[in-house]
Subunit: 362 residues, 2 copies
Amino acid sequence: MADWFKMAAPLPDQCAAQSARDRQASLTKPAGSLGQLEEVAIQLAACQKAQAPQINNPHILIVAADHGIVAEGVSLFPQEVTGQMMANFVAGGAAISVLARENNAQLSIIDVGSLMEEPLERVITDKVALGSGNFRRQEALSAAELAHALAAGKRAVERALTKKADLLILGEMGIGNTSAATAITAALTQTSAAEITGAGTGIDETALSHKRQVLEDSLTFHGLDASGEKPVPAPLNVLQKVGGHDLAALAGAYITAAQNQVPVLVDGFICTAAALAAVRLNPSCRAWMIFTHQSAEQGHGHILKELEAQPLLNIGLRLGEGSGAAVALPLIRLACSLHNQMATFEDAGVSDKTKSPQGAEQ
Amino acid sequence: MADWFKMAAPLPDQCAAQSARDRQASLTKPAGSLGQLEEVAIQLAACQKAQAPQINNPHILIVAADHGIVAEGVSLFPQEVTGQMMANFVAGGAAISVLARENNAQLSIIDVGSLMEEPLERVITDKVALGSGNFRRQEALSAAELAHALAAGKRAVERALTKKADLLILGEMGIGNTSAATAITAALTQTSAAEITGAGTGIDETALSHKRQVLEDSLTFHGLDASGEKPVPAPLNVLQKVGGHDLAALAGAYITAAQNQVPVLVDGFICTAAALAAVRLNPSCRAWMIFTHQSAEQGHGHILKELEAQPLLNIGLRLGEGSGAAVALPLIRLACSLHNQMATFEDAGVSDKTKSPQGAEQ
């Protein structure tokens, strides 16, 4: 396997970040009073090496795959939904379809490992397997499948870049992928799976307790459980043993975005688990990530803390599909507009630059 | 004083709310997985008696006033900033100016009691006083001034309605108005002012301790302090004694919006204090309010809890001007688009209507 994914991404431009911070301090508002909107404008200015950060061509990439772990009864929902939802994405009826239209964003759906034998129209098929292995009893992916999935994520980003994407939103669809994401998170943070296993779309207490046991057993089976004595397992090993095609493709995509100096929005629990794997594989990609929301899924807060990430939204979203990131996109655009268009104290002739004025809460 | 502000507003349409809830349950997503976006779409559908809630003509109303309490040294900032910022609002350089443009919202600035002797161009002047009294030593407003300010808020809303506003955003500007909002909140919730006094734009510990003392003394002076023995003071009494022209105008505006069945976005600490006074004056207006953010100002969480409100954003905003509400507007518009445009299970041919599909976190 070529180590393309270990090549360091450049750091976002620190001069541009400093200029952006200086500009924020000169605008007609109390210093810091736009909170996280100031921080995201500064981060984007650094990523774009720009005085006036802007998002003209956001591109949403959804990777879809099926998961063998579903055979253990960890999900309420039939696997055919993965394919049906891909069809819904391209037909325009899913949440992410609506959000792509309203945000003027391009939307690409990539089947990186679903059970669908025939390619779906308007879905890009880039897979070498129909679903992953049941990781309770075997590896989720072979080494070759892992390499393919990582590279499928890379290819997806590269295609978006040829279409001039200036911001990426990654999303996913795959019945069972919360289980894989939970196993990855538990292994990479050496936490008990039981602690971070959530009810997902609403399995009951009995099913939840079963899911916890399945995940604990799986981690033990692969020697990935939190023993407190072993070193933290390597991210590639974790992605292969208890991951999935979608999760590996996401990890490859986060890294490729950073290597190409394009900022990327991180969605909910599954995407953030893949982002954690990507950061462990290649820490340089962290600086290109913008965290958009904290989902209702248990365990998401745990990974966000691990990544020292402070997301923009916390409104009980738990849909996936990149939908939380797409909902946050208008906030990020407004952060840019405020940064670029507000008057400075000097321009506006407002008193007391050091004692800045306040609209309100003084 | 005519009791126009006590006339009950109708309840938002409960049939429309139920239809909207039913529609949410039929859309291709796990039930409840769009979190607060579902709730806001349902609330708007009820307010608009509509199957497809939408916001076509949002109107931002900013009321501005000066505050006599500034003489006690409670604010870092010179009072001339109130007028300078009004000029900045109409010139297009303030945060709210940018947000109005980006949201395609109308913006009206109303001087309800600033110290400006000459009317500013493009600012509506509707006042009978230059600033309020220093409520540490006298009433903030006379009874006639209070009546005028409440009615100024009413007139502002009525003007926006003649311009076909279908959603209102209220905001404020006034050096010193955090002190008035804190005093109102303490009196109406019978809490010690010291507990909820915040650092605002960043006064230091000594100044903060002084501000606390000034507010405690003011409440005692007017017999509005938390004694645990008296009944909770009447909202009109509180607005008159320790309020201000801007806060009273906001209260009148919230009530008028509800009486005219127009939903209204509630911004930060000062607006929420006025909203609390409005709800105490006329509880029927609560159902027409959408709470948009929790500001960094101490005390805001306290009022939100009192109003049983769960705002959309919590990103450290503390600018006022209605800016937090305007930042949340795109989320509310996306909530409508998702509600109106997503496919149902039946439309999309997605399996298992009762066991809904999930993009992700299953």
